[in-house]
């Protein structure tokens, strides 16, 4: 088995911290992404707890208005930009190459660079928050409140720059995923046989590519308005506050589907594995995914029904917003039939999927309610909306994410999480979630607006807010149980089988945790559930060199092998480039010259990063 030892040497990182900062292995970077995103999730959760404590009783004095505004702005921003999108991309960075049957993700150095940029963005905004320079105008910062006159100081500038950081990271990962999924699938894995998780990540990545530029443009306009006095959003001089809203929500709504579609991929994988049968209506699911991807770009104005846009225009967006219920309905139906006609085993991942069904469908239906213009005029910007988007975001994405975490934990670490602790986590989370967010529907209908740091006592909202606060503590407890479970599992020595759930997808063909090169030989696929149909007779394709890191490039549709491609070696320069870009971004918050002088460290880092390697060992001797 000298090829294994040979491959191991070729794909190995340098030992110790030097290897840690220079690695381009998608598994190490994926793990880092997951841990960092989870830390931001916990910090966002703590912020939510403080908010709920302030709102537990009318006229609360836990925090003043200024602190509360920073709290809800940080909670929203860190959940949406620092947790939701990055965690989904983290799972994809880890699982997609394995599921495709290839040895590493495309553009691995870009992958390292995207992690560092994401990390530095998160550190910057939390450093600002602890220095009382945190954002204070909400996660979508409407102008002119976020404009130069009504948001003094640098708070909103740091927020806008944090968006630039996280969007650069998200765009980078999206490009990597698109190329990996389309060009590096195992031979035989035609588009028809591609697992649904890969489909959902493909559609999500395309949505990221088309949605993120809108918000980067909007946040750059905002920074220029605040830094050098341009007039993009100055209503008096011909700019328009609604320009911000259009640009932001054109990104905003696809953003929430970018968070939601990977979860659908996870639900498909988990349902298929635990129902013990190939998923029902595979084509319908794929078409629904793609339909959701397109529809997401056509309905952003339903966030702006109250701004006085022409009523005819609003009606089109009512129709578009309602249409999106169709693909979701079809998907839910297919999964339920898969469950009903299979032999499901109710372990934790499937429990989270069941939780997903119950909460997401409720959230989806309240969403359909808000698609109607007249009804939305009563519900918009009230706690009804807060309830709705927590139902679709936590119900729709975080539940499947936790399910996937329990499902793929053996693949990440080689150890399975404790089932009873898992069930405790689920039931605490599910109950806490509903106790927190269901009363918000009622508070919203009773006239409680969003983002209020306190409320009068005689409005009848006290009971619902108290229930919400109690529920939020329940969720906190479930998170503690989950963390304890993970820590104890990591410390324990007994390991799990390579494919504990007997799952059909290719990632389970590799070891758990997979070797640095994932697959000694490139697997060949003949069906959409490879490990179920050709369990031991999994074909293998030899011919990749093992004395330099190589991957097989295959055609987009048929996944027919095309060329062998040398992968870049580990390098510390993506980190240096990311540091250079961070200096440029933070510096340009304070002076426009920061862009000019900051570009120098970035340019140096990028040049060395892309410097072509002269001597390719043994390449010349290639025929």
């Amino acid at each position: 088995m000298n090829t294994a030892r040979e491959l191991d040497a070729t794909w190995a990182d340098a030992p110790g911290w030097r290897g840690w900062i220079a690695t381009v292995d998608h598994k190490r970077i994926g793990r880092r992404y997951l841990v960092t995103a989870f830390v931001f999730f916990i910090m966002g959760g703590i912020l939510a707890l403080v908010m709920r404590t302030q709102l537990a009783y009318p006229n609360g004095h836990v925090v003043g208005p200024d602190r509360y505004n920073q709290l809800f702005s940080m909670h929203g921003s860190s959940m949406m930009f620092l947790f939701a999108v990055p965690v989904m991309e983290a799972v994809a960075v880890y699982i997609v190459p394995l599921m495709c049957g290839t040895r590493n993700i495309a553009f691995p150095r870009l992958n390292a660079f995207s992690y560092w940029i994401y990390l530095f963005g998160g550190i910057m905004i939390y450093a600002a928050f602890f220095l009382n320079v945190g954002p204070e105008t909400g996660w979508f910062s409407y102008v002119p409140l976020a404009g130069p006159q009504f948001s003094p100081g640098k708070r909103t500038d740091f927020w806008a720059q944090m968006i630039t950081f996280t969007e650069v990271a998200a765009l980078a990962v999206a490009i990597e995923l698109i190329v990996t999924i389309l060009k590096m699938r195992a031979p035989g894995m035609t588009l028809a046989r591609m697992p649904l998780f890969l489909w959902s990540m493909l559609v999500t990545s395309f949505m990221v590519v088309f949605a993120m530029p809108a918000v980067m443009l909007a946040s750059s306009f905002l920074i220029m308005d605040r830094l050098v006095g341009t007039h993009y959003y100055n209503a008096a001089e011909g700019g328009d506050p609604l320009l911000w809203q259009h640009l932001f929500w054109f990104f905003g709504h696809p953003e929430v589907y970018i968070i939601f579609l990977p979860a659908l991929g996870m639900v498909s994988s988990i349902t298929q594995t635990f129902a013990r049968r190939p998923v029902f209506g595979r084509l319908a699911l794929v078409v629904s995914l793609v339909a959701t991807g397109f529809l997401a770009f056509g309905l952003w104005v339903h966030h702006m029904f109250a701004t006085g846009l022409p009523r005819m225009g609003n009606s089109f967006y009512t129709a578009a917003s309602m249409m999106i219920a169709l693909p979701s309905g079809v998907q839910i139906f297919c999964w339920m039939v898969t469950l009903g006609t299979g032999r499901p085993k109710f372990s934790t991942p499937l429990l989270f999927v069941i939780g997903f069904f119950i909460t997401f469908v409720l959230g989806g239906l309240t969403g359909v309610m808000q698609a109607s213009v007249p009804l939305d005029l009563q519900l918009h910007d009230t706690y009804f909306v807060v309830a709705h988007f927590h139902y679709v975001l936590i119900g729709g994405s975080v539940f499947p994410l936790f399910g996937a975490f329990f499902y793929w934990f053996p693949k990440f670490t080689g150890k399975a999480l404790n089932e009873t602790a898992g069930k405790w986590t689920f039931w605490l989370f599910f109950t806490g979630f509903n106790v927190t967010f269901f009363p918000m529907h009622i508070a919203g209908l009773q006239g409680m607006p969003r983002r209020v740091y306190t409320y009068p006592g005689d409005m009848g909202w006290g009971l619902w807010n108290l229930m919400s606060t109690a529920g939020s503590y329940l969720i906190a407890i479930s998170m503690l149980v989950f963390i304890v479970n993970v820590v104890r599992t990591l410390r324990s020595r007994e390991t799990a089988a390579e494919n504990p759930w007997d799952a059909p997808d290719l990632e389970w063909a590799a070891a758990s945790p997979p070797a640095k090169y994932n697959f000694a030989a490139v697997p060949v696929v003949t069906s959409d559930t490879p490990l179920w149909t050709e369990r031991d007779a999994l074909g293998a394709l030899s011919g990749l060199r093992d004395d330099r890191p190589e991957v097989l490039i295959t055609s987009a549709v048929e996944a027919a092998p095309q060329i062998r491609w040398g992968m870049p070696s580990p390098s510390v320069w993506p980190l240096v480039t990311a540091l250079g870009l961070t200096v440029m971004f933070v510096w340009s918050i304070f002076t426009p010259w920061g862009i000019v002088w900051g570009a120098i460290p970035f340019a140096i880092g990028a040049t060395v990063w892309f410097w072509p390697k002269r001597s390719q060992p043994g390449l010349e001797s290639e025929s």
């Binding site: 200024d66 910057m124 450093a127 600002a128 220095l131 009382n132 320079v133 002119p144 404009g147 130069p148 006159q149 009504f150 003094p152 100081g153 640098k154 708070r155 308005d225 605040r226 830094l227 050098v228 006095g229 007039h231 100055n234 209503a235 008096a236 001089e237 540091l579 961070t582 200096v583 933070v586 510096w587 304070f590 002076t591």
Partner: protein, 177 residues
């Protein structure tokens, strides 16, 4: 990174939203001229000046008050009208924050009304801080770049600072008898 940390650390003071209770009126106005007989005894500036001058919230309130209290009626957006220009370096009655506070509070002989008792001291400090920013004498990260109205002057954030120097004290020499 060290530079960024230092910058943000310095930011705490800039960002504090301190909502104060009623403020006692400003102390005795500092002397107008540096010329003192005998050995010069410098008068320490009022400590509150620095608190308002470096705080973005107070400068923002000063920007609103500059229009609400009709200062822009005589001084426009710093360029001047019936009143003198405030965005250049020429200050007849002193250009640091204590002197500007005294000018607003006491009024000046050639037409500056006295706003004592008509604008509370806290707001006079805020106005004085904003007026200081018109001539670029305030840190650029605490100053609003523009207002939401007509674009009148180059942005406050891009204004090179003109340290105050004396203006011609007698604007309108009374011709000799």
């Amino acid at each position: 990174m060290a530079a960024c940390i230092a910058l943000t650390l310095g930011g705490c003071e800039r960002e504090k939203r301190d909502f104060t209770g009623p403020q006692p009126p400003g102390g005795p106005a500092p002397p107008l001229v540096g010329l003192q007989p005998g050995t010069p005894s410098p008068v320490p500036p009022d400590p509150r000046g620095a608190r308002y001058e470096n705080n973005a919230y107070h400068i923002g309130q000063g920007q609103n008050l500059f229009r609400w209290m009709n200062c822009n009626g005589c001084h426009a957006n710093g360029g001047g009208d019936a009143g003198p220009a405030l965005m250049d370096g020429e200050w007849r009655y002193g250009g640091d924050i204590d002197h500007i506070y005294a000018s607003i509070d006491q009024g000046r002989p050639n037409g500056m009304p006295s706003f004592r008792g008509k604008i509370p001291p806290e707001q006079i400090w805020q106005l004085a801080a904003y007026v200081r920013s018109l001539s670029g004498n305030i840190r650029k990260d605490a100053v609003p770049s523009r207002s939401e109205g007509m674009s009148a002057t180059p942005p406050l954030t891009r204004r090179e600072s003109e340290p105050p120097k004396g203006g011609d004290p007698a604007p309108n020499q009374e011709p000799q008898r």
